[in-house]
C-alpha cells in the first residue's frame, strides 16, 4: 500500500516537474534572431532587389538593357580593372603583412603585452578609414607631409622625386594597407592560436627542417584561414569609397567613385547606370567568392565536415 502511494507521488512530482519547464515554443526559439532577419530584409534583400530592378530601368522607369551595355565603355571597364587591381594588391600585401605580424605575436616569443597591444591597435586601425585616414596620410606622406619633409630634410631623401606619389595607385594602396593588415591580424590570430606545438615538434622529430615544416604542415593547415582572410580583405577594399574619394578626389577612378558620381553627381547623373555598375560589383564579388570556394574546398578536404 505504502509502495503504491510512493509511486503515485512520484508520478505526480514528475508531472509537476514537466509543467514548470519553460515552454519550448516556436516564438521563444526564434525571437533572438528576429532583428537579424529584419535587418537583412530591409537593408540587404530589399535594396538588392531594388538595385537589380532599377539597373534594368531608364530614367523614365521603362525596361532597358542600355545601362548594362554602357558598362562596356573603356572608362568604366578601366575603373573596374583598377578597383580589382587595388583590392587584389592590398589584400595580398595586407594579408601577407598581417599574417607575418600575427605569426610573430602568436608563435614568436615576444614579451607579454606586445600581443595584446598589437591586437588592440588592430581592432582600432582596421576600422580607421574614410576621411580621417585620408587626412592622416596627407599629413604624413603628402607632398608637404611630416614624414616626407623629415625624409627630405634629415635624410636627404626626396620620395616624390623618386617617383612616389600619395595620390597614385601606389599611394592609395599604401593607405588601404593601413586598414587591411590589422584586419588580417584580427582574423588570422585565432587560427594561429589553434596550431599545436606538438605538430612542430613531431615534424622536427621526424627530421623535417623548418622550411619543410612550413611547406608541408603549417601553411597547408592555415591555408583555409589565410584564403578566408584574404577574400575578406579583397571585399573590404573593393567596397571602400570614402578613403579613396577624400584622398584622390576622383583622381583614381575606382568603381565605387564611379557609382557615387552617377547617383549623386551633378554632371554625370545617371542612376540607372549607377545601379548597373553596382550590380557589376556584385558579380565581381561573386566570381571572387566562387574562386575562393574552389580553392578552399581543395585546401580543406582534411577538415572535419
Amino acid at each position: 500500500m505504502s509502495n503504491k502511494n510512493q509511486l503515485t507521488t512520484n508520478t505526480k512530482m514528475k508531472r509537476d516537474a514537466l509543467e514548470v519547464r519553460p515552454k519550448n515554443s516556436f516564438l521563444s526559439n526564434w525571437i533572438g534572431v528576429t532583428p537579424f532577419f529584419i535587418f537583412t530584409l530591409f537593408f540587404i534583400v530589399l535594396p538588392s532587389v531594388s538595385l537589380v530592378t532599377r539597373a534594368f530601368q531608364d530614367n523614365a522607369g521603362n525596361f532597358t538593357l542600355r545601362n548594362f551595355l554602357d558598362l562596356f565603355s573603356p572608362a568604366i571597364l578601366s575603373s573596374y580593372w583598377v578597383s580589382i587591381r587595388i583590392s587584389f594588391a592590398t589584400a595580398l600585401a595586407g594579408g601577407l603583412l598581417g599574417f607575418l605580424m600575427a605569426y610573430a605575436i602568436t608563435v614568436g616569443k615576444l614579451p607579454d603585452g606586445v600581443r595584446s597591444g598589437i591586437l588592440t591597435f588592430s581592432g582600432v586601425a582596421s576600422n580607421f578609414a574614410g576621411v580621417p585616414l585620408a587626412f592622416a596620410f596627407v599629413a604624413t606622406m603628402g607632398r608637404t607631409g611630416m614624414v616626407t619633409v623629415l625624409l627630405k630634410n634629415v635624410f636627404h631623401i626626396n620620395i616624390y622625386n623618386m617617383g612616389f606619389n600619395l595620390y597614385s595607385f601606389l599611394g592609395l594602396s599604401l593607405t588601404y594597407t593601413f586598414f587591411q593588415f590589422p584586419l588580417m591580424i584580427l582574423v588570422i590570430t585565432p587560427a594561429l592560436d589553434g596550431l599545436k606545438k606538438e605538430w612542430k615538434e613531431a615534424a622536427e622529430n621526424l627530421g623535417a627542417s623548418q622550411g619543410m615544416y612550413l611547406r608541408k604542415v603549417l601553411l597547408p593547415i592555415l591555408m583555409p584561414s589565410i584564403l578566408g582572410g584574404m577574400i575578406l580583405l579583397f571585399g573590404n577594399s573593393f567596397g571602400a569609397y570614402a578613403t579613396a574619394y577624400s584622398l584622390t578626389g576622383g583622381f583614381i577612378n575606382l568603381i565605387t567613385i564611379m557609382v557615387g558620381s552617377q547617383i549623386k553627381g551633378d554632371v554625370l547623373y545617371n542612376p540607372g547606370l549607377g545601379y548597373a555598375l553596382a550590380v557589376g560589383m556584385v558579380i565581381v564579388m561573386l566570381i571572387m567568392m566562387i574562386f575562393y570556394y574552389l580553392l578552399r574546398r581543395r585546401s580543406e578536404r582534411w577538415l572535419r565536415k
Binding site: 599545436k196 606538438e198 605538430w199 615538434e201 613531431a202 615534424a203 622536427e204 622529430n205 621526424l206 627530421g207 623535417a208 627542417s209 619543410m212 608541408k216 604542415v217 597547408p220 593547415i221 578536404r301 582534411w302 577538415l303 572535419r304
Partner: protein, 352 residues
C-alpha cells in the same frame, strides 16, 4: 658502455630546478619507464632526450655519441605524444611516410615501409583516411607507426595512453609492449600510472621533485622501495606509528602489540619511525604461529568491495590498518564491527 646514457643532467627554469642531476644508463632493447606525479620532471627529462629542451648541465650520449646539443631532427629518435600530434592535413599514409620523406627515400621504399608499419598496428585499411576520421586509439597507433617508420635508435613515449579511455588503454599498452619486443627497440616511456609502468617496463625510474628516487625492475621497486616516497607512491602501503623500537631483538610496539620486523631492510630510522606493510601481506582469520609471525587484533571499521579485491579497514587500538583479501564467488563478507585477527610474517614489514 650503455646504449643511452644520461649523466648528471639538470634543467633549471628561472629559479626553479625542474630536473636535478638525473643519471640513467639504458641497454639496447631495454624498456624503461619514468614514473612519478605531475611536475616531477619526467616529461622534461624525456624532452631533453628528444632534444626539445637542453639541459643546463650534464650530458646525454646515444651509442657512444654525445647528443646533448644536437637538434631534434638529427637525433634519429622517434617520439609519440600524449595528444597524438598527427598532421591533420595528411592522410594516415602520408603521416607515416613523413619521416621517410624528410630522409628523401624513393617513393616505392616509402610505400613499402608505410604498408609494413600499417600492418604492424593492424590498420591497413585506413591508409587513405584523415586523422579526424579515426578514433583516439587508432590515432595513437598511427602516431606509433609514424615514430617507428624512421627506424629510430630510441623510441620515446610521453604519456601516450593518458588521453584514451580505460579499455583502449589496456589494449594498447599490451600492443606497445608487443611491438617494442618484436622490434627490440630501446624505449623510454613516461607515465604517472604505476600499473602501466610496472606492466610494461624492464626497469622503472621513480622520480619526485626533479630527482630520481629509485631505479630498478618493477618487483624490486614494489617490494624493496628505496625511499619513503617510493614506498608510498607505488602501490598501497600501511604506515603504522611505532611507540618503541628495540633494534637488538628487532621488535617494536605497534598499537599495543609487539611486532617483529626484518632488520636487513631497515635503514637509518627517522625520529618518529613507522612500520610499513602492504595491505595484501595481511592475512585474516589464521591463528598466529611460528617465530616469524606477527599478530594484530582489532575490529573491522569498513568493508570495500573492489571486484577482484575486498579491502578491509581495521581499527587496532585506534590505529586504522588496510588489509586486502581476494574475492571469491561464494565469499561471506566480514561486516563492520566484527572482531578480526590480522597475521603477517616478519619478512613482510619493515621500519621507515
Amino acid at each position: 658502455m650503455a646504449f643511452i646514457e644520461l649523466s648528471n643532467i639538470s634543467k633549471v627554469y628561472g629559479t626553479t630546478t625542474v630536473v636535478e642531476k638525473v643519471n640513467l644508463e639504458a641497454e639496447k632493447g631495454e624498456f624503461i619507464s619514468f614514473l612519478g606525479p605531475s611536475g616531477c620532471g619526467k616529461t622534461t627529462t624525456l624532452r631533453m632526450v628528444a632534444g626539445f629542451e637542453q639541459p643546463n648541465t650534464g650530458s646525454i650520449t646515444l651509442d657512444g655519441a654525445d647528443i646533448t646539443y644536437l637538434p631534434p631532427r638529427q637525433r634519429n629518435i622517434g617520439m609519440v605524444f600524449q595528444s597524438y600530434a598527427l598532421f591533420p592535413n595528411m592522410t594516415v599514409g602520408q603521416n607515416i611516410g613523413f619521416g621517410l620523406q624528410t630522409r628523401k627515400l624513393p617513393k616505392e621504399e616509402i610505400k613499402q615501409k608505410v604498408d609494413e608499419m600499417l600492418a604492424m598496428v593492424h590498420l591497413e585499411s585506413h591508409i587513405d583516411k584523415y586523422p579526424y576520421q579515426l578514433s583516439g586509439g587508432q590515432q595513437q597507433r598511427i602516431a606509433l607507426a609514424r615514430a617507428l617508420a624512421i627506424n629510430p635508435a630510441v623510441l620515446l613515449l610521453d604519456e601516450p595512453l593518458s588521453a584514451l579511455d580505460a579499455k583502449i588503454r589496456v589494449e594498447l599498452r599490451l600492443e606497445i609492449r608487443r611491438i617494442q619486443q618484436t622490434m627490440g627497440i630501446t624505449t623510454i616511456y613516461v607515465t604517472h600510472d604505476q600499473e602501466e609502468a610496472m606492466l610494461l617496463s624492464d626497469r622503472v625510474v621513480v622520480m619526485s621533485q626533479g630527482h630520481v628516487e629509485q631505479i630498478g625492475p618493477p618487483s624490486r621497486i614494489y617490494n624493496y622501495p628505496a625511499t619513503e616516497f617510493v614506498a608510498q607512491f607505488v602501490g598501497q602501503l600501511n604506515l603504522l606509528p611505532v611507540s618503541a623500537v628495540d633494534m637488538a631483538s628487532a621488535t617494536c610496539t605497534v598499537a599495543g602489540h609487539t611486532i617483529r620486523f626484518e632488520t636487513s631492510v631497515a635503514r637509518e630510522l627517522s625520529e618518529s619511525p613507522r612500520l610499513a606493510i602492504r595491505p595484501e601481506e595481511l592475512q585474516i582469520g589464521f591463528p598466529a604461529a611460528g617465530e616469524e609471525a606477527n599478530t594484530l587484533s582489532g575490529e573491522i571499521a569498513s568493508v570495500l568491495f573492489l571486484g577482484a579485491i575486498v579491502r578491509l579497514r581495521v581499527l587496532v587500538n585506534g590505529v586504522l590498518i588496510t588489509a586486502d583479501i581476494f574475492n571469491e564467488r561464494n565469499i561471506t563478507f566480514p561486516r563492520a564491527g566484527d572482531e578480526i585477527v590480522l597475521n603477517f610474517s616478519k619478512h613482510a614489514c619493515w621500519l621507515i
